[in-house]
Amino acid sequence: MAASQLHVALAGNPNCGKTTLFNLITGQNGYVGNWPGVTVEKKEAKLTSDKSVTITDLPGIYSLSPYSPEEKVSRDYLMSGEPDVVIQVIDATNLERNLYLALQVVETGLPVVAALNMADLVEKNGDKIDTRALSKSLGCPVVMISALRNKGVDELLAEAKRAAATKGSVPEHRFDSAIEDVLTKIEDLLPSSVPASKRRYFAVKLFERDRDALRLINLPKDSATRVDELIAACEKDCDDDAESIITGERYAVIAHMIDGCLKKAPARMSTSEKIDRIVTNRILGLPLFILIMWAVYSIATGADAFGTAGTDWVNDNLFGEGFELFGMQFQSIPGVIEGWLVAAGASDLVQSLVLDGIVAGVGAVLGFIPQMFVLFVLLSFLEDCGYMARVAFVMDRVFRRFGLSGKSFIPMLVSTGCGVPGVLATKTIENEKDRRMTVMTTTFIPCGAKLPIIALLMGAMVGDAEASWISPLFYFLGVIAVIVSGIMLKKTKLFAGRPTPFVMELPSYHFPSIRSWWLHIWERVSAYVKKAFTIIFASTIVVWFLTNFGVYEGAFGFLPAMEGIPEEFTDYSVLAMVGGAIAFIFAPLGFDSWQATAMSITGLVAKENVVATASSLLHIADGTETDPNLWAAFAGMFPSMGAIAAFGAFNLLCAPCFAAMGTIRAQMNSAKWTAIAIGYECAFAWVVGLMINQFYLAATGVFSIWTVVAVAFAAAIIFQVVRPMPKWAWEDNDKVVPAGAVTA
């Protein structure tokens, strides 16, 4: 076998430690969370210790039923003929439910090795598992392991290689004899093209009226009719439907297996139960949740907090005035680079590009890292230890009202830091519609990069960048945008359907291993850092070009170096031309100046650019969001307060930034859905801006055709929000069809 690849599939329930094992044996850092359903797609990697072995991590599933996409992916792969052996990972602290899937995997006839994971916890609980008895009753080798503590894993891999050389596992379990009779009869009806090792699997699937399995084997029509008759007769005898009969038989077999192999220590109240008594307590649950969130944000982004101190240090010293460390004086990064450039005799153009463009732009992004790092350290801990599953439990009632589930909450929390990891966090949502909807709406929540914009708006509107009552208003706007969008979209053809069932396992609390915690933090921070050095890097160059190049007195070139050009050279820039050309789009929103339009354009590239663009277009040198000169110049672009608010609403709600758009593209895995998401966000932002400006104008007695348009939009939104779910939305397409109906 040396030349050819050995394919090992990892199968198991959500949260059974499959991904931890995958990361351990492949050295990959796929993310692991204490959250059911982390792996949505299957992942592949080579075994670290033996490159001729390919490991495929399948999504966590509970069964091989034909209903969820994850289950379909898994069984299609198992049936594809590629895997040589399956490692069935079993959470040994929850044998009963985990064996339910194991039984079905053994039935596929593939060689299987069962890995009883979390052996250390079993020992701690005082339980004893007789692996030899289990191996005998399950019909495959059983190995005790602890993926977290790297115990028993080498033995498991050796066992898997041995098993791969065999013909396959033979299911030992037998159902009730009446059911076995029917299964044997169905097996006899299967076409000869179905190999011996897979005949039982297909017989059981046919008995369950599994239409996907039926399609695979091309059953002749008369056999299909005969199968239908057999099932119908059996259902009549048992007074139950076929799916229930098989499920019942499986659990009966498992109960018998467990009797023979598990010695449970006397039950006592686990730590998890004790924690849950308080954390999801009817009265304390919500206040505690608010307190924890408040603590997280105070530590990460509060005025005197840890994260903010780091961010201020980076902004003020590393990218500002320079700093003193251990009595030594250090120059700031821009200072150092300027020194190099001058020493190298770089031209003004190069200096401008590097310092004003790249260093300033990337620096603005990197400044957020300390805050974001602290935020992700805390959120990742809450997620990995199992608390976030409880948050979903506590918050589900709220989110269901607008068509989402409690699981949509985590991406929104992460999005308050950065939308890129926020969109990535949607992968824990199993349901495709919910996931898409969360991707589309999660970036409405103001991210870290939008905070300077909010500060600028506050300064311009009330003359106080710290005004504590305005900032919550914009968060509120974001939350309302999520809710209204959720309710509206749920009633469109794109998202219609029955509310997604929210049946979720609440995993036991555990202290996350430092390694997986760190991987999780790193995944998020690195998503942000990558954004800084790729998309923001490129976009700062583009923005720099757009603002510094242009046409002055008929000649195109680098404006600052042009003969006789006034100080306000940006008025002649390419950005000014583009902004002026499309400013008409924003006229109904009250801001048709090319500067405001240009700021929105650079904001679409990256929100971090907006304040810097304002400063350069409005000719306020080094203007920041706390500079009253910039506030005044900024406010001067707008005819009214309504227009400033409309500008704010548009920029905070429209498509987030190139980096987040790229992440949306990756997450949606569909150009069409990416276009829908980004198009919806921008259109919604424009409509909200329009309504704010027009209603403000109407309140001051100014009416126009746009007033009518704004009223029409408002009416349409209210209609879509309050109307009942349309009838066609309830069409159900997951009914089980009889075997004859598919082949016919």
Binding site: T247, R282, V503, M504
Partner: protein, 73 residues
């Protein structure tokens, strides 16, 4: 018909039948909620829904609406 959602917090009961059809029903069955299964309602979320039950040795969160297809004793 008494359903899983009607069981008071702290009470235990046994499942009689799963009604309805399709994905939700199968999903609940795969999670081990079948005829004859004993369970205990551990708690209700602070906002009144979903509920948390202990079944087959693990904790499950389920909405009352979905629990309504599960007939219990």
């Amino acid at each position: 018909m008494k359903t899983l959602g009607d069981v008071a917090v702290g009470d235990s009961s046994t499942i009689i039948k799963l009604h309805g059809e399709g994905a939700l029903r199968r999903h609940l069955m795969d999670l081990g909620l079948i005829k004859g299964t004993q369970f205990k309602v551990v708690k209700v979320a602070p906002l009144g829904d979903p509920i948390q039950i202990t079944v087959r040795g693990y904790e499950l969160s389920i909405r009352k609406e979905e629990a309504a297809i599960v007939e219990v004793q």
